[in-house]
Amino acid sequence: MKFRGKHAEERPQLQMTSMIDVVFLLLIFFILTFKIVELEGDFSIRMPIADASAGSMDDTELPIKLRLRASESGRLSSILLNDNDLGTDFGRLHAMILALVGNTGGPSTGEGPELEIDTDYNLRYEHVVDAITAVSGEKVGDRQVSLIEKLKFAPPRKP
């Protein structure tokens, strides 16, 4: 038998174009929706509404008073801890809390003194978070030492 015209052996080819199209679309989707996730955490506050009978508590149960004053622009103008003026230095506030709480600081126990934060209405929120950070504890290496865990806010001072 005679074979006419010998065809070269052809390799079967996959059609890649459509797959690459889809893959690039997926890639663009993921690049556009990508957002670096910032880690977030909470300062937990248990704050039931003030009870009318709460006025009868004795002096030992009175909370530590932290007063934060604001300038007209909302910047921190002074920190007062139990009426002691600490300027605007959160380091001093932390040292004072350390002196007040003493050696009771340690791992989280849920016990200890209570601190009431009384702020001007227009104070920027980040200053309050700085104050809460200063009174709540400190980071020693990888370990976290708790100081004051019970926090509450005084009623808002409406302008």
């Binding site: 955490g41 920027r124 978070v129």
Partner: protein
Amino acid sequence: MRVTSKKPELVEADLTPMIDMVFQLIAFFMVLINFAQTEANDNVQLPSSVLVKPPEAPLDFPIVVHVGADGRIFVGGDTYTAETLGIRFRSELAVLSARSDLEISDATVIIRAHRDCAVGEVQEVIRVAQDLKLVNFALRVKEDLQ
């Protein structure tokens, strides 16, 4: 002279390394994509603190409240004021009361306030929640990895 006609051959690029890379990139973005960003709000830039850590266990009944720099309050995509926020809290509490396994003390109001907002706005949110017997609050801040 005899001219032999030769079919021009198509030059084929080797696409294998490119496809490998593209699949690697897709896998990378797929792993990192976070569909649970529903809690975030573009109007809010959180303050930061070195003391906070991401919660280890999810809360039983979280109510996420966003407070923008201008004092606007956002809950679940709707905008409220301190006066109207109570309506939203009541509807959330109605959902809570329909669940037999939870009590009002299991609800936690997560406050995601902008770092430059007036703290009085945050206190107003707390006051409205307290009026409805909500007692647990969580001030959400960004973890500061110094």
